[in-house]
Structure formats: C-alpha cells, structure tokens
C-alpha cells in the first residue's frame, strides 16, 4: 500500500501443536502485512486457526507447541529472535495488545475495573499508580464508559460496558496494534453497533491498527480496510475491503459471502456443504478442493499465492 515499512509483517508464520494423534497444524505458513493505522479483518470458520494466529503473533503459547517458526517484523524489527522476558516487557501489551475472546467475562471479579485498566501501565510502563489511574480515566472517556465506573467491580457493569473496559485495558499502554478476537460476538445488536462505533472512533483519533478476528462477516465490514480469509490454517485470500465485499475471488470466500443472511436485498443465503479438513490430517493439494464447486485436476497440487491486481489469492483459478 504505502512505501514506508509496514507496522507488522508476518513471513511463513507457523504454529503446530502436539497432540496424541499427531501434529495439529493450526497456523501453517501465514504471510501477511499490516500498515500503520490500518484495520485488517481475519475471517474464518471456527477451527480454521484464526485465534491461534493471534496467539502466535503475541507469543501466548500453550505448553504443547511442537513447531513455532517463521518471521514476525514489527516496524522492521524482527521479533522471533527476542527472548521471552524481553518480549513480555517490550512488546506484548507495550506495542501489541489484545482484546481476548469473551473479554467481558475475563475481567477480574475482585478488582475494581479502574485498577484493572491501570494495571498494564504500571506493569509495562513503570508508571506510578496515580498517573496510571488518571490515564485509565482518560481511556474510559475514549471508550465511552462513565468515569464514575472506575471504582466499580465487573459484576456491576452490563455486558457492553464490560467489553468497553476490556478495550480500554488494551488501549491504555498506547500500543500500535490491537488484536481483537471476536470482540462483539456475544453482544446484542445495539451494543455491537455501539462497540463498533467506539472502535472506529479510536482508530480515527489515536491512529491504532487493528487485527480483527471474527467469523461475523457482516459486522466485520464495519471496521475493515482490508480482509484476509483463513481456511484450514492458511490465508487463502487477502484484498482491500471494497473489492473483497463487492466480489471475493477465492471460491471459499465466495461461498462464505453467499452464506451471510442479509437484511437488505433479496439474495437467498446459501450454505457450504461438507466440513473443513481436520488440522491433524490435511490434504496434500488445495485444502478447500473437497468442498469446492469449481475444482479441477490441478487442485490436487497445492496452489501458490497469486497476485491479481494487488489482491492475493491462493487458488489455481487465478493463476
């Protein structure tokens, strides 16, 4: 997009887990880049590895990791070679923060929400408690939580308010990038629209970048500058939001878009037959071939990623 170094660049990022039935290839060679102040949506069905991708970027790894390799560059700096302790201090939450899935239920029940929002600043920024609390107050205003809620506990807040607090917690260290894992999936329609408004405003006012991980295509379009579609551990399509939502290229993306029930317009939604392949036993060729209406003989071989007028697509149809 622009000439300057991208904020985040992933090359061949791979994360495999060890299980009793062999290696689970959750993230399998992901290439991907993200500009400053840009929002990229990672779309995919459950089990496609999109949450593992977030964990791989933030190095929040469980114990049963078998393979973790590839390159992650933040502002041109290689992150994979950094020691864990250094990564914890200087990168995680300081530069890249996260709103985890079901964040509203992950707040500490015995800690005031104001203190919780201030905590990352004290831990990562070495800031005094008063200054951190003052900053938390500012963040509350950014996300639209009344500042007298600082002294409340999580159970005293509604779901939407708790979600905002979780967002404030991700914002408080002024990171460059926030990873949002299904930030609105458990919320009501009006609350969801409210949270999306908050995220849009923060992006505009503070210039942060987002990686939004979701399976909700309709809501994702509220925030997306670019869209990446993930299927069975791989990114199969990347494109700018405008062209993607108008006409996706990969057959999987097309099927996915066609499955969205729409409020406006008369298009009857369709569904994708079959199931995604198991991440324990992936086919050799194109991973979508089994469910693809347009499969050809060539699909028995794994397709490379083709560049079609700036849009990336991993499908032989566009070779």
């Amino acid at each position: 997009m622009n000439q300057q170094t991208p904020l985040l660049q992933l090359q061949e990022l791979t994360l495999h887990f060890r299980t009793s039935r062999g290696a689970m290839r959750a993230v399998d060679g992901v290439d991907f880049s993200l500009g400053h102040g840009e929002a990229v949506v990672v779309l995919g069905e459950s089990g496609c590895g999109k949450s593992s991708l977030a964990r791989a970027i933030l190095r929040l790894l469980p114990r049963n990791v078998q393979t973790y390799r590839g390159q992650v560059y933040l502002d041109g700096r290689e992150l994979m070679s950094i020691e864990d302790e250094e990564f914890r201090k200087a990168i995680r939450w300081a530069r890249i923060s996260m709103v985890p899935q079901a964040a509203m239920n992950s707040l500490n029940p015995v800690m005031k929400v104001g203190d919780q929002v201030a905590e990352p600043m004290i831990v990562h920024g070495g800031v005094a408690k008063e200054a951190a609390l003052a900053n938390a107050r500012k963040m509350f205003q950014h996300v639209g939580v009344p500042t007298d809620f600082l002294d409340r506990y999580a159970f005293e807040l509604s779901g939407g308010m708790r979600q905002r607090v979780a967002i404030a917690m991700a914002l408080v260290t002024a990171p460059d990038l926030i990873i949002l894992d299904e930030p609105t999936s458990a919320l009501d329609v009006l609350t969801q629209a409210n949270i999306m408004n908050v995220l849009k405003r923060i992006k505009k006012e503070l210039g942060v970048s987002y990686i939004l991980i979701t399976h909700d295509i309709a809501t994702s379009s509220e925030l997306a500058d670019r869209v990446a579609v993930m299927y069975a551990g791989q990114i199969v399509e990347v494109g700018d939001a405008r062209s993607f939502f108008a006409a996706p290229l990969h057959p999987y993306s097309q099927k996915l878009m066609a499955s969205v029930p729409r409020l406006r317009g008369d298009q009857e939604p369709d569904f994708i037959t079959g199931h995604p392949p198991s991440l324990l036993d992936l086919p050799k060729g194109c991973r979508f071939a089994d469910r693809c209406p347009l499969r050809m003989a060539k699909c028995a071989e794994e397709p490379p990623t083709f560049n079609k007028h700036g849009r990336l697509v991993k499908c032989w149809l566009h070779g």
Binding site: G159, V189, L190, A193, R264
Partner: protein, 342 residues
Amino acid sequence: MLIEDFNKVQLSPIEENVGQSLMSIRDLRVWFELRRWGFGHAGNVRAVDGVSFDIRQGEAIAVVGESGCGKSSLMKTILGLHRPTGGDVSFEGVSLSRLDRRGLKWYRSQVGYVQQDPFAALAPFMNIRRILEEPLIVNGVKDRDERTARIRKALEEVKLSPVEDFLPKFPHMLSGGQQQRIVIARAMILNPKLIVADEPVSMLDASVRVEILKLLRGLQESHNLAVIYITHDLSTVRYFSERIFVMYAGKLVEKAFTPDLLREPRHPYTFALLAATSDPDARNAEVYREVPPGEPPSLVNPPKGCRFHPRCARAMQGLCDVEAPSDFEAAPEHLVNCWLYK
C-alpha cells in the same frame, strides 16, 4: 382500563380471520420476586409484563429482542417451566394452568424445545441412540423395534446419514452443526405440534447457520409445525418466519408480518434495531451507526409511561413519559405499542 384496551385491540384483527389458533397467550405476566435477606419482599422483576399473541398451526413466528428483555422468560413459560404470575397460556384451547402432572406430560410431548447451545443440551455420557430414545421411553413407547424405527426416521429427517454411523457416537464426536441436528431430532421425535427454538444458530458458525435454519424451515413446512423462533438477529428472521414480534423490556412493542415490518418498521425501537444491523458492505467502515443512547431499563423499576421513552428520539413530553401506550393498528395487522400511531 389499559388492560381491557389491550385485549380489545389485540383480539379483533388477529383472531377473526384465523380458523384454529394452536396456542393463545393472553396478557401474560411472569414476575420474579426479589427477596431481601432471603425472606423480605424487595420488589419484582417483571420479566414478561402483559404479552398477548396467537400462533396458528403451521406458522413460524419470531420473537426478537435483546438479552434481558424477557424473551427467555416468555419462552420458559410457554414450555411450562415457569408458572405465569398473571394472564394465561392456552394450547388447543386448554389453559396450561389447568393441567395436572399427567396433563403437563402430554403437553410437553406436544411441544419440542431446541436449545441455544447444543453441546450443553446433550448429555455428554449418552450416545446419540440413547439421547433420542429417552423421550420415547419416558412417553411409553415400549416396543424396542418401534423406538429404533422412530430414531432412524428422526435422524434421516435432520439429514444425518448414514444413520448407523451416528447412533453409537457421543456428542463430543460431532461438529456443532451436527449436534444441533441431534437437538432438533430430539425435539421432533415425539411428533410435536409446536417447536420452541431459542437462538438455535447463535452458537454455530456463519456457514452452518443458514443450513440449520433451512432444515428447521423444511421440517416446519413438511410437518405443518408451528415454530416460535427466539432470536436477537433480525437478518436471519426474514428467511424463517411469517410474523415478527419485537420485544422490549417485558412487552411486545411491535407485531407484524415479516415483510411489512422489515420494509416499514414503525416503532422507534424496531427502527433502531434495523438500523444497527449490518450487511457486508465496505461502505460501513466509513460511517458511524446511529444507536439510541443508554441501555435497556431495569425490569424491577421500569420507566413510567412507555418503557422506551428515555432512549427514544421521538418521545413526546407529557405523554410518553406519563402514560403507557396500548397497541395501535398502524396498518392492517400491524400493531405498534407507541403513541405515534394513535
């Protein structure tokens, strides 16, 4: 005076042109008592507060509302799990409050329940055969061969084939979509007349949702079932139900046929719900969505007058904040609980 009004408006348009209404709900109230220190009375949570509607045989209706609006309490009362505080639910002309234990057992065999979270709804230690057999045993189907035949038929109807592969499996071996099919098969196995589906697809992946909704729709049509579909997602409703009831703070604020309501929403709350629902479109990222301020009110002390008035941009001072509106007929068979349509 208000209640009488409510009934009058309610009864005339809907009931006249219907031959047989399967279920009829009149001025239903479900309140839960709040206790202080375990015994003192501390008010009531008015989860359902004056709800009336009819369901015809073979008709799918949707109850749309946000969490905490009382739609689950309404559903549980319809299932006979809560006793109404006031008003009445009657099924085929028989009031549920008049049913004894055996009557309730009969009633529950007539009403199937599709839960929201299929994994939580299926016993993890039972295989599929056992899960589907249980309702048959409880309801006195003594012949083993007949039970097997009915289980097979139910699985075929929810398109889980080959049947033999699924019978010995346990719920955790199935995908979310397959689990939800089992839940539907279980709800259908006693040949009910009514199915209550509580957010049946909200826990499922986007690509599977439509498949499950189409399956339910197909069963509804082939078995001439009545379906109550409870959801907060308006975009799925239009493919699924004939009529929509919009619920807010314990009341139904708008009742209309689906196309009418989506084309021309009348109640300001319905309006807000529709405006907040997105379709996939890159232009969405360039604008802010309009959302009414505030949050749904407490059901212990709901606002005086119209319950939506503190959030409503079109609220009229001196009217909406004083007196609760009744249902006005804004268009034929389009009832709106709002003073704007008096």
